[in-house]
């Protein structure tokens, strides 16, 4: 069952400061409403993975590792590789994260990242078919949250994209029923670069890239994922309130701008 979350007891005064600053057009870390925290992306940090990237979004830190293995296609897509996105809210990242199977927040995180990649056709899944209906390559995207200071969706999806762009896969040959893995390595075939932009609503103000302190006072959340040509490829609203239609119209335009800027940072980090 999905239940109303129990928020940590944040001092009322501290909350008020966060809210008041936003009402004045300012923010607790002195950003503008439409600005991201500093972004640092490192790629290739896990040599044993096919691809990897670590992002620092302010103090939020997410590591993504890509593993590509041989498996079976889904029955309804016999000529396509398989994409699997999994997210772990690793307990060392926040005192409220507990060991165990992914909870609804981890599942939502994984599914929103998955949706951006899948709907924009970022990975050329057809190029990952080895033997129609029998053997395909399976791309595992493991999103590993190491330090949680807010906006895990954007941090996770940017790191996932950088890791995918960083990934190298083997060359395969099919001989009879066996798959021969050749030592050559080629880049994972990437066709699109979806970038998510997440908004928070604090009272009647809309802010971009909410930090954890801001998440604890915001009424609602909206993620808009923009693919390379500027169209929307995924959206997800969260939180205990909603957005007016005017707010939504404003949000999607800001999303297109911020996505373009962040996409450039990711591509630079992945040397593309």
């Amino acid at each position: 069952m999905s239940a109303t979350p129990q928020l940590p007891p944040v001092a009322k005064l501290e909350q008020k400061t966060v809210v008041d600053l936003i009402a004045k057009g300012n923010r607790i870390d002195e950003r503008g409403h439409d600005s991201y925290r500093p972004i640092t992306i490192q790629t290739g940090v896990i040599e044993k993975a096919n691809g990897s990237a670590q992002i620092f979004l302010g103090k939020t830190r997410v590591l993504v590792g890509i593993k590509v293995e041989t498996g079976e296609p889904f029955a309804d897509t016999p000529e396509e590789g398989v994409l699997t996105v999994n997210a772990e809210l690793v307990p060392l990242a926040h005192p409220s994260f507990e060991p165990g199977p992914p909870d609804e927040n981890a599942i939502e995180l994984a599914r929103v990242i998955d949706r951006g990649i899948r709907e924009s056709k970022a990975i050329d899944l057809k190029a990952l078919c080895l033997q129609k209906g029998k053997k395909v390559q399976v791309v595992y995207v493991d999103v590993y949250v190491l330090d949680h200071d807010g906006n895990l969706i954007d941090a996770g999806s940017m790191a996932a994209l950088a890791a995918l762009a960083n990934a190298k896969i083997g060359k395969y040959e099919i001989k009879g029923d066996e798959v021969i893995v050749k030592p050559d390595r080629r880049p994972l075939p990437i066709n699109n670069y979806p970038v998510s932009v997440t908004f928070g609503k604090v009272d009647r103000n809309i802010i971009v890239d909410p930090s954890l302190e801001e998440e604890q006072v915001m009424n609602a959340r909206l993620t808009v994922t923009i693919e390379k040509s500027g169209s929307i490829c995924a959206m997800q609203k969260g939180g205990l309130s909603g957005f007016t239609t005017e707010e939504l119209r404003k949000i999607v335009h800001i999303a297109v701008e911020r996505a373009a800027e962040n996409r450039a940072k990711i591509l630079a980090a992945a040397k593309i």
Binding site: S231, T244, L248
Partner: protein
């Protein structure tokens, strides 16, 4: 969104597989108060969707540590019957069901005056007996009625409907076959009096103008459904209808 079977989803007249216009809802049937044990319940048929929603609560939180000191905790389960889909579904909750349970809860919480019932839970069960595309939206429409039927004070009813894209055209309330072959899906839940979108998800590709147009189509459909919801409640509780009509903003039910 997969696009593997490029069957014709629109005919030469622009009509859809089931004969609807692009901006037309499927037939909707709503019933309120149809379960004996639940505190509130509702049933919706929308196309071939057949969905039951039930509410238990406000009741004492169990286990106690989940209670909140200043408001009721709302708990929600969206669940599909094993026989509700083409291939039998395991009754264990899938990741998709867990995600939908969360977004459905978050689409309904804005309507409930939860601060009236601190330390309690309000439990909401949405059971998809048969699924035909758009079941999360139809589930929200029914669940909102079940909350009202349970006598839980609400700001207003919330209704939900999806807009999709088929053969490059925006189309309202996709059926299962349109959903599977369509190019986008935009489910929306809306509170008309408050002008608040409380569910918003998107799959597929939409340009910004398409998004704005699609959002408007969805909101218009939500308004239509909202009228149907009030009608269904009226049929059940004529006296509640009168109270609701007096105070329009906010529309407090119960």
């Amino acid at each position: 969104m997969q696009n593997k079977h490029p069957e014709k989803l629109l005919d030469e007249k622009g009509l859809r597989v089931d004969g609807r216009r692009l901006d037309q809802l499927r037939p909707v049937r709503l019933e309120v108060g149809i379960l004996d044990k639940a505190n509130g319940s509702a049933y919706i048929e929308q196309g071939k969707n057949k969905i039951l929603a039930a509410v238990y609560g406000p009741r004492e939180a169990h286990p106690k540590h989940i209670a909140l000191p200043d408001r009721a905790v709302i708990r929600c389960r969206y669940h599909m019957a094993p026989f509700s889909v083409d291939e039998r579904k395991s009754p264990a909750p899938s990741r998709r069901e867990l995600e939908l349970s969360k977004v459905i809860r978050e689409s309904l919480e804005p309507t409930v005056l939860t601060d009236l019932y601190p330390r309690t839970t309000i439990d909401l069960f949405v059971e998809i007996l048969q699924s035909d595309g758009g079941s999360r939206c139809a589930g929200i429409t029914a669940a909102s009625l079940a909350l009202a039927d349970a006598g839980i004070p609400m700001r207003e009813l919330v209704a939900a409907c999806a807009v999709g894209k088929v053969q490059g055209q925006l189309a309202l309330d996709l059926s299962d076959i349109e959903d599977k072959q369509g190019e986008a899906d935009l489910p929306v839940a809306y509170m008309p009096n408050s002008n608040l979108v409380t569910l918003l998800q998107m799959d597929g590709i939409l340009t910004l103008p398409e998004f704005e147009k699609g959002l408007n189509m969805a909101i218009e459909a939500c308004k239509t459904l909202h009228t149907m919801q009030r009608e269904a409640l009226k049929n059940k509780y004529s006296q509640i209808r009168e109270v609701a009509e007096e105070k329009e903003e906010p529309e407090v039910i119960a």
